[in-house]
Symmetry: C2
Subunit: 567 residues, 2 copies
């Protein structure tokens, strides 16, 4: 049976335990359950009572494509409720192979040292590596690889996490030496508050224990065959990745533009996935598309975006960052977006929150629209932990209140993602009602725009609800959102995998229930006990009165419709 | 019957209404009921849906001593829950005489103008007086008196309120041309958000309608006779005022010292009430003690504190400010305290919150202990609405989080008053459990130190609970805390007054119930609906682990004891 590793940072004791109740849980669902079981919900997020849970998805470590994502979970300093953010990279794969179901980091060191948690075939240990202090994520990752081996899995934080910034992310190393991010909710600050700069997991070829390996591998082959045949993966995902939707969201009028004052931007072509692909291809050099963020992934939606000379600016340029760091800041060219994106990555910042906070900062006169130098200068304030940086680094809710903004694009203290709720109302429901706060991965209604009118009132609550728990199930299995179409079309594929791995007899309904509905309800219960009561399930008032060009829509869903989205 | 004046700042319409349900309510109880009846509890505190209620106490306008205080109430930008803060001055007296039970200011002007609400015998009207913009409270008050008459009652805000600072207070003019403050919870920012710089009420000799005036006046004479005979009023209240307790709190080890790191300060004599009285008396000039803050008050606890040349520095120097702006900032001399106090008054800041925020700022390296120039400079940042000022001006919870402090002395987002909960545990209970957040007027256990051991565990919950609702009744009647002893000794004095005024048949039990228990429960209900659920009834974690010298106590009350304090 898989074990849970407990790392107590107060006394530096490391132990392991098993819990039969957690058997069918993984990733987000497991993280939620451990947090509800072990953490005082109304504790201080950056204090010793909070815990950071690192939980690979239930299928992590197996060869199923796009299925070894890693959930990070804790009480969030950003929302004050529960938070889960998951990322690619190889660490989930290795943890799964080692039979580690989760790592629970608790307590707080009194010594002020910065630790690296090292996990390998000989177990787990804490190492102090002093010269990592305040290093950016890329240099941290580079040094850890140099010390422990190029093929390790790494989770690490940048200066933002060490400095307790509420918008600090956790970076995860991928097989190309690039980084992916468990970005949202300030989990990097929680990691920093534990005195942990990085978690390093050795590469291993060890395999998880299968109840019925043959049956499992049959289904893996079945799914992989389907993926290989899917023209969308080759023609869209591997070329434009998530950025394929830029023009579509702009056409809907839901693209965050100039601090959510508009839903479309003139010159959107300069930001499109098509332009991104052409630019990467034309510039060559370091530039690449079709890159996988974990071993064995067939989707390969990552990329490396180079400058005109072919030198890498950023990896990976993707939709949310193009929206929040691009149109939302008045840019219509991908180069500045890539520069800001890389800077956020290196500081260890949630790019979505960073884009939202820069949008408000520009609106309040701290820089100009489309002003790369101004934006870079503000990010440097965050990196350098100055007073200005400390205002901005805590995210858009804190910064907006401090600056006196009346237009703060946030729900439950966390910034909107790349969809204005006025022109994609279902996402407004998810932002308000999900236990995760405003989060595009918690139930994104964009993909359902053909079924439910994005501007209509009807069915938004039901749509959000169903996506909320289904996405949670996907997060709990360790699957990427891009793996969704074939799995949601025939969910028995997922139950076959789980049953073959664990020897269970899970039905599709039970799968949605246990890894979806129950998990979201666990999160909601945590929130209620943490003080984030249902009265916090709301959107900012300006959305209800300020029409959003070009649709000139306001957010107008009645409360009954919102309440239908409670899972 | 008395009327409620409704002032809609969106369309500038003023109307009046009566409500039989509000007949027995006044001050804090009335404010709470109107807010629960009319305000969406989870609205944005500085948005158009919040309302500011100005409600004189139930007995206001009558000649009873110390009984015409005015409650200001709203959803608080500081706590995000309901808030009431009351003040002396003559405005409650005049409103009561005019038969105005409350003024409800709602909506928000789109024009960006700054208004004065003028109330007199010809009714209420809105006047624009542009040159008041960003003026300090003293100059604002001076200009309004020059324009409308020296004997008017004024409520006004300073630059902090106009700038939406969460620690903005509301100033109230007293008969001596000095100001009193409805200080806590950021109600000045709510007033500013309504575009109201001041409320001016003409002096009137009109009398309220008495059901039985003779009976009322008999009881007034009875109480006044008792007050005139009370040696404590003459020998303590009129000399040292609230500052009489400085040495006693220091001796208990509960005096906030250097950002709540100690509970006593060497050199406390320099801050004592006795030193204050001697200094005022010796320096002469503008200096005065035994000053009343409203016509007809027999207690006269106010003072004017002069500098060595006899020129006024500040009015009124009192205990909470001496604690928070004095020992908490490392001062052992009253002159710098008086200077900081006056500066806060003029900017329109809650002095308690300002002292707490300066304490954290000093702790985080922004000034030195006992550093008058450094503290004045930080207050100027608030006055000038700079970025630093905007961090500090939102109070200790926001400033402490932004600055990264791990020791934020606040409950429900509001700073502790002048009693460290570790050495006066009953006040810790009140800070945590009262709907008002950390507030010394919501149930201060200091006066009961002879009955309940301040360092003990037992009876703290019950003590806090009983004081919470009894103080609420006092606030609702319009009485000053200093009037408490004779009234609490024989509460039938209060019911006799209410019954003679209104023609009711209220028993003592009903008085406590209606104006005390029910009112606090109304506030709690508002908080729960606002999102400030019971999970927010808590104290910061550092109090449970950091011993407070010299008693070396931590806060150690079990949850059961805290829960007993729920009214």
């Amino acid at each position: 049976m898989s074990v849970i590793v407990r790392v107590n940072m107060t006394d530096k004791k490391i132990s392991t335990f098993e819990n039969q109740d957690y058997r069918m849980l993984g990733g987000r669902a497991l993280s939620a359950k451990i947090l509800l079981d072990e953490v005082t919900p109304n504790c201080e997020p950056l204090g010793p009572k909070n815990k950071l849970v690192i939980a690979p998805g239930l299928l992590s470590g197996t060869p199923i494509t796009s299925g070894s994502r890693t959930s990070c979970g804790a009480k969030s300093p950003m929302t004050n409720g529960i938070k889960e953010a998951n990322c690619g990279g190889n660490i989930g794969l290795y943890l799964g192979r080692f039979g580690v179901k989760a790592v629970v980091i608790e307590g707080q060191p009194a010594d002020g040292n910065l630790y690296v948690l090292k996990i390998g075939k000989d177990g787990a240990s804490l190492v102090t590596i002093e010269d990592l202090k305040l290093l950016g994520t890329y240099e941290t990752d580079r040094r850890l690889r140099a010390k422990f081996g190029q093929d390790i899995g790494v989770l690490c934080i940048g200066p933002a996490g060490e400095n307790g910034m509420k918008m600090a992310s956790i970076a995860s190393s991928d097989p190309n030496g690039e980084l992916k991010f468990a970005a949202r909710g300030g989990l990097g600050a929680v990691m920093g508050s534990k005195g942990i700069k990085a978690v390093v997991v050795d590469r291993t070829l060890q395999q998880p224990l299968y109840h019925n390996k043959e049956q499992y591998m049959d289904m893996v082959r079945n799914i992989h065959t389907e993926f290989r045949k899917d023209p969308k993966i080759k023609n869209v995902n591997q070329k434009t990745g998530t950025a394929s939707i830029v023009k579509a969201v702009n056409a809907m009028g839901a693209l965050p533009t100039r601090n959510f004052r508009q839903g479309a931007i003139a010159g959107v072509d300069g930001l499109s996935g098509e332009t991104m692909y052409a630019t990467i291809t034309n510039r060559g050099g370091d530039g690449k598309t079709g890159v996988s963020c974990m071993d064995g992934c067939l989707i390969k939606c990552s990329n490396i975006y180079p400058d005109a000379s072919g030198k890498k600016i950023c990896s990976t340029l993707q939709y949310e960052n193009i929206a929040l760091l691009g149109s939302n800041l008045g840019f219509t060219n991908l180069d500045p977006v890539a520069k800001l994106n890389h800077e956020c990555n290196d500081i260890g910042l949630d790019t979505i929150e960073a884009g939202a906070v820069l949008g408000v900062a520009i609106d309040m006169g701290m820089a100009q629209w489309g002003d790369l130098d101004g934006c870079v200068a503000l990010l440097q304030e965050i990196r350098n932990n100055t007073l200005v940086g400390r205002i901005l680094g805590h995210g858009v809710q804190v910064a907006g209140s401090v600056l006196g903004s009346k237009r703060i694009p946030a729900a439950k203290g966390q910034s909107f993602a790349g969809y204005d709720p006025r022109a994609l109302k279902g996402n407004g429901v998810t932002y308000a009602m999900s236990p995760m706060g405003a989060d595009h991965t918690a139930g994104n209604c964009f993909g359902s725009r053909g079924e439910v009118n994005p501007l209509g009132v009807d069915k938004q609550g039901d749509l959000s609800k169903s996506l909320q728990y289904k996405m949670c199930a996907l997060d709990s299995l360790g699957f990427c959102i891009f793996a969704r179409p074939p799995l949601f079309k025939d969910p028995s594929k997922m139950t076959t995998l789980v049953n073959a791995l664990l020897g269970t007899d899970l039905s599709v309904d039970q799968l949605w229930q246990v890894l979806g509905v129950d998990a979201v309800r666990t999160e909601r219960e945590f929130n209620i006990r943490s003080g984030l009561s249902p009265a916090n399930d709301k959107l900012p008032e300006y959305l209800y009165v300020e029409p959003l060009p070009p649709t000139n829509e306001v957010f107008n869903l009645p409360e009954e419709e919102m309440l239908r989205a409670i899972v």
